[in-house]
Symmetry: C2
Subunit: 376 residues, 2 copies
């Protein structure tokens, strides 16, 4: 029953929803509408307000990890494949392949192209898969890119959409770092691009999002499938019963995301801190002769340490990785784990460090780089 003093049905509903009775009962498995609305607003804000998101196209899951797995279950059958421009996020090999039986086919990108994918490379990978009898169901990208931190140029998003349409396949864009940008390149969501296109079948376009990065709430386990395909939204909502977010956490987030002042300030300060740490970190590496890819988003520096590997090969890269871990006590991700075809690149997370850690980092890395010079 509505509490006295709160006029109107809506206020009464809201009050009832926040009682233990309202929280304890079964909720829609794919997330409550209030949270979908709040997330749509937050996504719009992190993506610079250039695009609107419709809560009815959204499925909420307990993290971007199940969001990606559920979307894969909906789009592909076991044995089917996605084309994935590489280097790519190494977690996908686990999150997507483990249970769905979907294969990931790396499509190599090169440093000379700023690690941007070309339609030619996609065509080659597509044809090779076909020859092997593998049905390609989609292209999967991350934007901003994990691991490089690059932002996918708008023209390339156009190319990818056109390629997907030509082959009658899907395009999945993982935009979990959309709000964690700090560079000069402006992030453009694939949602922005499809909205501009005419006569384009949007039903093949899907976005993965979550709060683990842009709101630093990994422990809250909140992910989003945003799809322009009503059949996939409907199927994913059903499968979401295996990956639901608890009602207290959903209500907590509705409240948090509704605090416009806090959210605006958070996004602003977060970007400033990311930018500052990125510059400090990449400058520190520069002191050691290590150049970083000019990244604009995400939590990682993508560092070219090829001058410190003894043999220009995956083996040489693994050896350096081992020395960085064992001798320098610096834990980075080797590019080969991201299916990078150029040896010597490493993904370095800079967001767990503070300013005072930078000299320690330099001193530790010197243990490896100095010994390399003296031996050479």
């Amino acid at each position: 029953p509505p509490v006295a003093g709160f006029g109107g049905a809506a206020a009464g509903d809201e009050v009832r929803d926040l009682t233990i009775r309202g929280l304890a009962t079964y909720q829609p498995y794919d997330g409550i509408l209030a949270l979908k609305m709040a997330l749509a607003g937050f996504m719009r804000q992190t993506m610079h307000g250039s695009v609107s998101f419709d809560p009815s196209q959204m499925v909420i899951t307990c993290g971007a990890t199940p969001a990606m797995e559920i979307l894969s279950f909906c789009i592909a059958d076991p044995g089917n494949a996605f084309l994935v421009p590489s280097p790519y996020y190494p977690g996908w090999d686990r999150d997507i392949k483990w249970r769905t039986g979907v294969e990931l086919i790396p499509v190599p990108c090169r440093s000379t192209d700023n690690f941007n994918v070309s339609v030619t490379a996609l065509e080659i990978a597509y044809k090779q898969a076909k020859k092997r009898g593998i049905r390609v169901r989609g292209v999967l990208i991350s934007n901003p890119s994990n691991p490089t931190g690059g932002i996918v140029p708008k023209e390339i998003l156009h190319d990818l959409l056109q390629f997907a349409a030509e082959k009658n396949i899907h395009l999945i864009s993982d935009e979990i770092f959309a709000g964690s940008t700090y560079g000069s390149d402006k992030f453009v969501s694939v949602a922005d691009v499809v909205d501009e296109l005419e006569d384009f079948d949007k039903g093949r376009v899907h976005i993965i999002y979550g709060l683990s990065k842009d709101l630093s709430l990994a422990g809250f386990r909140v992910g989003v499938i945003y799809s322009y395909n009503e059949h996939i939204v409907s199927a994913a909502a059903k499968i979401a019963r295996f990956s639901s977010v608890s009602s207290p956490t959903q209500r907590l987030l509705v409240s948090m995301l509704s605090d416009q002042k806090f959210i605006s300030e958070y996004i602003k300060v977060n970007r400033e801190r990311l930018r500052k740490m990125y510059l400090l970190f990449s400058d520190a590496l520069k002191q050691l002769g290590i150049e970083c890819f000019k990244s604009s988003g995400g939590f990682y520096c993508w560092a070219d340490m090829s001058r410190y590997i003894r043999s220009y090969s995956e083996k040489g890269e693994r050896k350096l990785w081992d020395r960085l871990l064992e001798e320098a006590k610096v834990n980075v991700t080797p590019g080969s784990s991201c299916h990078c075809i150029e040896p010597g690149w490493f993904r370095c997370c800079f967001t767990t460090l503070s300013e005072e850690d930078i000299p320690v980092l330099v001193e530790r890395l010197r243990r490896v780089t100095d010994s390399f010079k003296s031996k050479r």
Copy 2:
């Protein structure tokens, strides 16, 4: 940093865990140790303190639904099967079969046996499956039974364990209603029975539990896989990344479950209310000439309405179900949905009603039962 005034590392840890910093960061995907310990204590309490649970054998998931699915993924390959004494919980056909590709083979039980399964029936089903080339990986039961509300007798648990050992297969016991008992039969967990056995390979025994029923917290999405098999615990913990519970909810539950006074009182009052509603509900049905199975646990009356079906068949049962829904506006589950082989049984949830609803129920059901008499 530990807050001043709280002495000791443990207190400092606890305080840090409850800051936004502690809550926001990544947690173990299979649940925090503090919640595993609290749940082990709660399970012991709901199961009358006769058995201890070891937190290290536990994986926490966002509901019993993903707990069951993850366990199935760990135990069986696509195309394998579980033998399931029927009538059984209709949700399993969805929760287990959808993504794992595991088949469920109903093993029919009869009212004359109080719907208890016999080893003979299990043997027949096992042999038939083998003949069809299907590999049986386990037996799956619910105890207290959903839908009948019966409690599995200890001798039958012994039979099931022996059968599982003989065939070298698993036994899964879904004990989600373990604390929701109200009848004269005493609930015995399979954990209790395996603890008594000597030279028994416990590694084939697994329990599913959750807080949606015994603590009425369905909206919190908390399920448990409890297994005596360390390999399965380890594999399930890895897959739990797709079905994690958010950290604020985990911390909230640690606090709630640690309040011994509240929990003891809750379990007591809950049992009294269940017992009262069960008696009111089954008495109401008796007024209409409908007998209920003598149940001792769970939220359902298992009602024999066969005298009100026109043809003693699944079709006749469906017709009555349709009339109950459309004419009487009473929503029950037909036994055929639970793979019951005797037509005319219906699962009626009595826990969403209050005392005042009982006369309404009787009046509504009369619309169907009276018309039946007059037409006959």
